[in-house]
Amino acid sequence: MNCDVLKDLRERLNELVPTLEQAAREVAALLQQGNVGRGLNGLHEVLEALQYFHEGLDLLIKADGDALYWSGFSGLREKLDQIYPPVFAALEANDMVTLADLLEFELADTFAQYYSDGGLLWQTQ
């Protein structure tokens, strides 16, 4: 794959991380305030962005899997994969408190953690 395209993709994903973190926190706050309708709409958007994020990561893996592995991405991927099942379980049980907890203290904090660790994934080349 063209190096410029990969670079561009990395930059886009790089930008998406704080946005996803912020959005997850906002959705959590909406759910905690009882704004379930707006909260679930927001969650839908977060999930769509996450889908895009994962597709981007898949492309990067195909193009430069070793570098990503080395960068610690696999840890992030693993962590995110652990969060999704309880998120969907909470959604199914209509448990907005747990859902808000997962968004704020699992999803948002996971992104914040990786970002504050220096964005290992994003610096590699």
């Binding site: 448990d95 907005m96 408190v97 747990t98 808000a100 203290f105």
Partner: protein, 608 residues
């Protein structure tokens, strides 16, 4: 979700949280397992007006994190009502040692009971003046959505009932007091309704109200005569007499001239009047010698009067004469109690039945008024009602729930559906339950005769009125002095303001002298006010006439002297007028209503 079990557990940071577990396997958290305090803060941020509110109703308690937050954010005098349906949560919160210490319990009420909610609304009404905020704890609502749905409607109903009562009180209190005095002669010579207690145990009674559907089955009342106790509200009497049907008891309690118009020109021959002392004073004489008194309304003034003439029996008025009629049906022991004409809705667009004084009155159902709305109807579908009718429906439903030992039949054949009443036609009710004949008026007459009041009561009241009227003379003098000093303070305060405006004169001897005098007068005013306020019994007795002071907005803490004097003038001016009126009414009562000779009235005049 009655079987839901609450599991209490430690959260990830050591704070307690809870999970609701339903027997079907569904479970959900009531609070964040990570940071329930921050979660509660976010919830409460949604209600910015909390900072100004005088009263807060929280729907759902959970573990009370949001209640703590409400108390932290709101004013220090806020009153908080927490409605929680789950006993485990109420228990946990009230027994938690941390809450026992940190919650200001005199400001927090936790309940799931409608009567406690109603009491809260009425007792804390002064707090409602500063605004009410309703806070919903979403996870708690999920525990019992139907309960919270019903209870939030109830809270709104109680508040509108309070507003109706307050509005009614402000408009009618003058007449209420006047009628209480004017009716004293009747009250002291009539037996109380308690004379009829249990007199018709197990016998059917019909409560006849004047709703539009009464025209459908009024003719059947003739069949109910002497097979049931027929209790009519005042408004339905005209329609009944026009059909040649005589009720056994007629109930009335409205203090206005309009109520008298319903009776004017009628010639009741055998029926007994059951009246509240506030009833328009021209009505009791129409039923001379055939009356029972009952008490429904209480104020310091009416309680004082009641203590003088003795207990006559309490009947819950619920804001409507039909509710009072139902109370009387319960008191006499009737069972079943059958309602007719109790639409509490605009059946066919009409407000009242044919044959009543309001027979042609139609409701404007096209109106977009917020006071008009639809409720489930008898026979299916919806029917239009209005806010105060709806508050009566609510009260009836409460009362029906309290009287589960009676069969309550709604044979209105139209109007609003009421929970707790069995719906059937009047024909069916008569066929099924009105099987035995009994001489209703004979029994009522005997009890009336047997329970005549002690004639000494009247003498006792005359003495007390004379004594109290003399005391009011002293209070009136004090109030006049208070207002006179307040006027002087106002004048001096104006002068001081002017002097302050002219800088050159500000430090002059004249200005200093003015300020000294102002200070002296203000101190004098304070002393006088204290002396008036010490006359608690006399000022409390004026509560019916001074109700406005209860709803007046409080002065801000940093109110200027001028604002304070303005308030003093308004409040004590009203007390002065009320004290003068009270004294005059007492004297007139002795002269016109109570006195059997001229001696007592002369004694009052002596004390003028």
């Amino acid at each position: 979700m009655a079987d839901t079990v609450i599991e209490f557990m430690e959260g990830k940071r050591g704070l307690p949280t809870a999970r609701a577990c339903h027997p079907n396997g569904v479970a959900f958290l009531l609070h964040s397992a990570h940071d329930p305090v921050a979660e509660a803060r976010r919830l409460v941020e949604r209600y910015p007006s909390l900072k100004e509110a005088g009263a807060v109703v929280c729907f759902g308690l959970g573990l009370g994190y949001h209640v703590h937050e409400v108390l932290r954010v709101a004013k220090p005098n806020v009153q908080v009502l927490v409605i929680e349906s789950h006993p485990q949560l109420r228990e946990w919160f009230q027994q938690n040692p941390e809450n026992i210490q940190s919650i200001p319990w005199e400001r927090v009420t936790i309940t799931d009971r409608e009567d406690v909610i109603k009491t809260f609304v009425y007792r804390k009404r002064e707090n409602f003046r500063d605004g009410l905020v309703m806070v919903e704890h979403p996870a708690s609502l999920r525990l019992n959505p139907e309960f919270y749905d019903t209870i939030s409607t109830r809270v709104r109903d109680y508040i509108s009932l309070l507003l109706i009562d307050m509005g009614t009180a402000q408009t009618l209190n003058y007449f209420v007091q006047e009628n209480n005095f004017a009716n004293l002669k009747a009250i002291t010579s009539d037996p109380g309704i308690s004379s009829l207690k249990g007199a018709f145990a197990g016998k059917p009674a019909v409560v006849v109200a004047a709703g539009p559907s009464l025209s459908k089955n009024i003719d059947l009342l003739a069949e109910a005569k002497n097979k049931s106790v027929i209790i009519s509200v005042g408004t339905a009497l005209k329609a009944m007499l026009a059909k040649g049907i005589h009720p056994d008891l007629v109930v009335t309690l409205d203090p206005t001239e309009l109520n008298y118009k319903l009776f004017e020109g009628l010639a009741p021959a055998e029926e007994f009047l059951c009246y509240e002392p506030q009833t328009h004073y021209k009505i009791p004489p129409i039923f001379d010698g055939r009356r029972f008194v009952f008490n429904s309304f209480s104020s310091c003034f009416t309680l004082w009067l009641k203590a003088l003439y003795g207990d006559k029996g309490y009947i819950d008025p619920g804001g409507s004469v039909a509710i009072a009629a139902f109370g009387i049906a319960c008191l006499i022991g009737a069972n079943p109690i059958v309602f007719i004409g109790q639409d509490l809705a605009f059946t066919g667009g009409y407000t009242h039945s044919k044959g009543t004084a309001y027979e042609n009155r139609k409701a404007d159902l096209t109106s977009s008024s917020m006071h008009m709305f639809e409720v489930p109807a008898i026979g299916g579908g919806k029917v239009f009602t209005m806010r105060n009718f709806h508050s009566f429906i609510v009260r009836f439903e409460e009362l029906f729930a309290q009287h589960k030992d009676r069969l309550i039949i709604d044979a209105t054949e139209g109007g609003a559906l009421k929970r707790g009443a069995k719906v059937m036609t009047f024909r069916e009710a008569i066929d099924q339950h009105f099987n035995e004949e009994f001489q209703v008026l004979k029994i009522v007459n005997e009890l009336h005769h047997k329970n005549q009041p002690d004639p000494a009561v009247r003498e006792r009241i005359i003495k007390e009125f004379n004594k109290t009227a003399r005391k009011y003379k002293g209070l009136i003098r004090k109030l006049e002095e208070t207002l006179s000093i307040a006027k002087k303070v106002e004048k001096l305060s104006n002068l001081a303001e002017k002097a302050d405006g002219k800088k050159a004169q500000a430090g002059s001897a004249l200005a200093r002298g003015n300020l000294d005098l102002l200070k002296k007068r203000a101190e004098q005013l304070n002393r006088k006010i204290k002396s008036v306020n010490a006359e608690t019994k006399l000022t409390n007795l004026l509560d019916m006439l001074t109700i406005e002071t209860e709803f007046a907005p409080p002065l801000p803490e940093d109110a200027t002297l001028k604002e304070q004097v303005k308030q003093i003038n308004a409040v004590y001016g009203l007390y002065l007028e009320s004290a003068k009126l009270m004294r005059k009414q007492m004297e007139n009562a002795v002269k016109d209503s109570l006195s059997t000779n001229g001696i007592q009235s002369a004694e009052v005049c002596e004390s003028c």
